[in-house]
Amino acid sequence: MKEPKIIEYDALVIGAGIAGGETALNLANTGYKVLLVEKDHSLGGKMILLSKVFPTLDCAACITTPKVSEIARHKNITVFTESEVTNISKESANNFVAQITKKPRYVHVDDCTACQLCEQACPVSVQDEYQYGLIGRKAAYIPFSIANPKAAVIDIENCTLCGACERVCPTQCIDFTMETEYYELHTKTVVLATGFTLFDPIEIPRYGYGRYKNVITSMQMEREIAPTRPYNTILRPGDGKVPDRIAYVLCAGSRDNTVGNPNCSQICCMYSIKQAQLLMGALPMADITIYYINIRSFGKGFEEFYQQAKSMGVEFVKGKIGEITEKDNGDLILRYEDINEGVVKEAEHDMAVLSVGVRSNPTIGKIFNNGALKFDPLNFVAQEDLMGSPSKTSIKGVFVAGTATGPMDIPDSILSAGSAASEAISYLTQHQEV
């Protein structure tokens, strides 16, 4: 391993989703120098991949794109993509030492014009993770059209090193000699904004996810209805049919002890209602049915949003799905307990969307020395003073923002980022060197 380069910033923010991005902006606007470390190829986290947002139905990209470009252009923010913090030790109140690994992108971002000629030349095709496996992408590729930085990436694991991409690149920005870089960061405060992971419905075999291609996740449906969607319209992945009868299965992987998650994920009722409304717009003749246990429409404007979906014709069935089976033609039979009537029923649909829940992201668990960072029983970052200072963690000077603490929607993630930034600023002010 090469000697790390020594770097210094006032604050380290880990994770560049909406929470980390907002925290970085708040700190930077106050004059602090921020290093924003993101493991992925783009800023924006999950929000940048959404279609529209509940309950306003504003376009997610229209909100996220200006925000991420403000972050990327801010003179007080340095962004490291493809990077991970491998270790943090607290040497004194205002000296945290972090080891950072920055993987090679094999593209000099500043020189790339995103012309996509490398994409066209690349002979490889693998599953596109930004379209959640619904379609392929090349090994030389732009992650998605509104990615920031908007520059090519080489997927080195799937690359056959044929060199076609670099031969066509007009700016010669593709460079396979790039290597992993190591940094040792000295910083005065740290904000964790590593977000959440989605429940993997493979864990519930009776839903048939993985086996039946017309059972998809809500994130896959989110991609199907987004402006940067994989297909020309809504199609079912099993045979390309334009679906007519779409079912939503709420609480998939939430409020379910059998998969180790007794908690409500807080966002799935509302995002499912949002998707149902968008689907009714895209496919006016389609029947959309939402199978639910309870509808949790607790936030501002949520109940009205729910009532609006009902008045548009979305059908709500208080029912618990027992099993999904597939017919020869790819249609699905949903067997469910009708909770109101107390009887088991069956219904046929073209497609089923599993409204998957929020899980913790365990990646930051091991980076702090001596296990000093505490977690709650579901492995979200523990909040030391939930009622008084919700962004404080078990380590003084380390704060937490957004869904790294538990499920929440975008407005709450932004509020939480504001709180983490102001706690961090207060810490920086208190521990100024004189």
């Binding site: 090349k138 694991e157 690359c159 056959t160 992945p237 045979d239």
Partner: protein, 92 residues
């Protein structure tokens, strides 16, 4: 060591070789691409028709065919009378 621009892939290939998995996947993709484009040479087909002609499961045809649409190799044709299934044709 300074490597000439546009020859850096060769540098890495010489240094660490090409992963077997990447080679295998490329072979598989080329085989399926050839089969699909071959089947669409003379006629516009739906996914079900392609699946039958190529003896390939419909989900697999769907995934590869729609990837070829994305790459600009295949174009979307007409939708059937029931507004359910599109047909697909080669981009000439």
């Amino acid at each position: 060591m300074k490597v000439e621009a546009r020859k850096t892939a060769k540098y890495l290939r010489d240094k660490q070789g090409v992963p077997e998995k990447a080679k295998e996947e490329l072979k598989e993709y080329n085989r399926i691409k050839k089969a699909i484009t071959g089947a669409l040479k003379d006629e516009e087909l739906t996914i079900a028709q392609l699946s039958e002609k190529l003896q390939m499961p419909k989900p697999e045809v769907t995934y590869y065919l729609l990837s070829l649409v994305k790459y600009g190799i295949v174009a979307i044709g007409e939708i059937d009378d029931m507004d359910e299934y599109y047909s697909y044709k080669l981009v000439k």
